[in-house]
């Protein structure tokens, strides 16, 4: 058996800077999610964070599977655009 060589495979180290960046990204994501209509937020969270299938989401939210699909599409689009817009605002603030 070959021993694991930490020098060859260094583990990523959390630095104060990387933690601050992660916190900032989390905050930005939270704000972007918060800006979505509740129904879209619910469906997106069930899919992306809970890993529910469309069938499960349809049953939980009592909406047809077809609507789950179209809502996910719109939710993802709106989230991307909210993140882009908040990214621009952050960049302007930093300047």
């Amino acid at each position: 058996m070959v021993e694991f060589d930490e020098e060859l495979h260094p583990q990523p180290v959390a630095t104060p800077e990387s933690i601050a960046i992660a916190d900032e990204d989390r905050e930005r994501l939270s704000r972007a999610l918060e800006s979505l209509p509740p129904r879209f937020r619910e469906i997106l969270v069930l899919r992306e964070l809970e890993g529910c299938s469309y069938k499960e989401i349809a049953a939980i939210t009592s909406i047809p599977i077809g609507t789950v699909m179209s809502s996910l599409s719109r939710a993802r689009r709106q989230l991307c655009s909210a993140l882009t817009s908040s990214g621009h605002k952050e960049a302007v603030r930093e300047v």
């Binding site: 989390r26 992306e48 049953a59 009592s62 047809p64 993802r76």
Partner: protein
């Protein structure tokens, strides 16, 4: 830039929800489309970002396993007999939807953008009803049967009239969700095309019909007597306008 034609398939493909045949069809489309591969990469990055952000504490694996085990038999059951566990999960998901989120209801003004988004959602719902084969909750050409089916399922009574003699035969009805509210859909066939008429209550005044199209589907939207109608089909707009005249007479 997005490829509108494949938008619905794109989501299903990304989430692994397409049938083998549909996935193969979409993969064929991917070979020629310049937008979809980019969008798939963007969706993957967004998904990864959401999962890495650790937006909330997950329940312990044992608890999640227990909840899922209880959920599975329920998915097979009808939506009408959802046990409390579903509502608990929905409530939990809603709470988890970021502790930060105070529910904010934006009162949406009826702008052109809103109208366009609404029409977009309705056309998507129309297309997806064709794809998923979920056309009718009740299949009947009997006006009273269709009206009776809607009764108790909605807080309003949608008109379900048969115009077979005028070329628009009633096929039945179903429920759908548009703009986060339950709507009735009255299904017709006319001149060889399937027509979905989405119906929901409104506070707005009567309007003359507005027309539009998306992905080769035409829609006509109007309000009358505190009810809004949106007829969608791949039939010519003139057919939908004729159905509008019949429904408003």
């Amino acid at each position: 830039m997005r490829c509108d034609f494949a938008d619905s398939l794109l989501q299903g493909y990304f989430d692994g929800e397409l049938s083998t045949a549909s996935a193969a069809e979409f993969e064929h489309h991917l070979q020629h489309c310049v937008h979809c591969p980019v969008e798939l990469v963007d969706m993957d990055l967004l998904s990864e970002r959401l999962q890495l952000a650790q937006l909330y504490e997950s329940a312990p694996a044992s608890l999640r396993k227990k909840i899922r085990a209880n959920l599975r038999p329920v998915v097979a059951a009808t939506a009408m007999s959802q046990p409390r566990l579903w509502h608990w999960l929905a409530a939990a998901a809603a709470l988890l939807l970021l502790v930060v989120a105070g529910w904010r209801v934006n009162s949406m003004l009826r702008t052109d953008d809103y109208q366009a988004e609404l029409a977009e959602e309705i056309v998507d719902a129309h297309v997806l009803s064709l794809q998923s084969g979920h056309l009718t909750g009740i299949s009947s050409n009997d006006e009273q049967v269709v009206k009776g089916w809607f009764k108790g399922r909605l807080k309003f009574a949608p008109p379900a009239r048969d115009f077979a003699n005028e070329g628009f035969a009633l096929q039945g009805g179903r429920l759908d969700v548009v703009d986060e509210r339950s709507v009735a859909v009255v299904v017709y066939t006319g001149t060889g095309h399937l027509i979905n008429v989405f119906v929901w209550p409104t506070q707005g005044r009567d309007t003359s019909p507005q027309v539009g199209s998306r992905h080769g589907y035409q829609w006509v939207d109007w309000r009358k007597g505190r009810i809004e109608f949106c007829a969608v089909s791949d039939a010519p707009t003139s057919d939908l306008q004729q159905l509008h005249r019949l429904l408003t007479n």
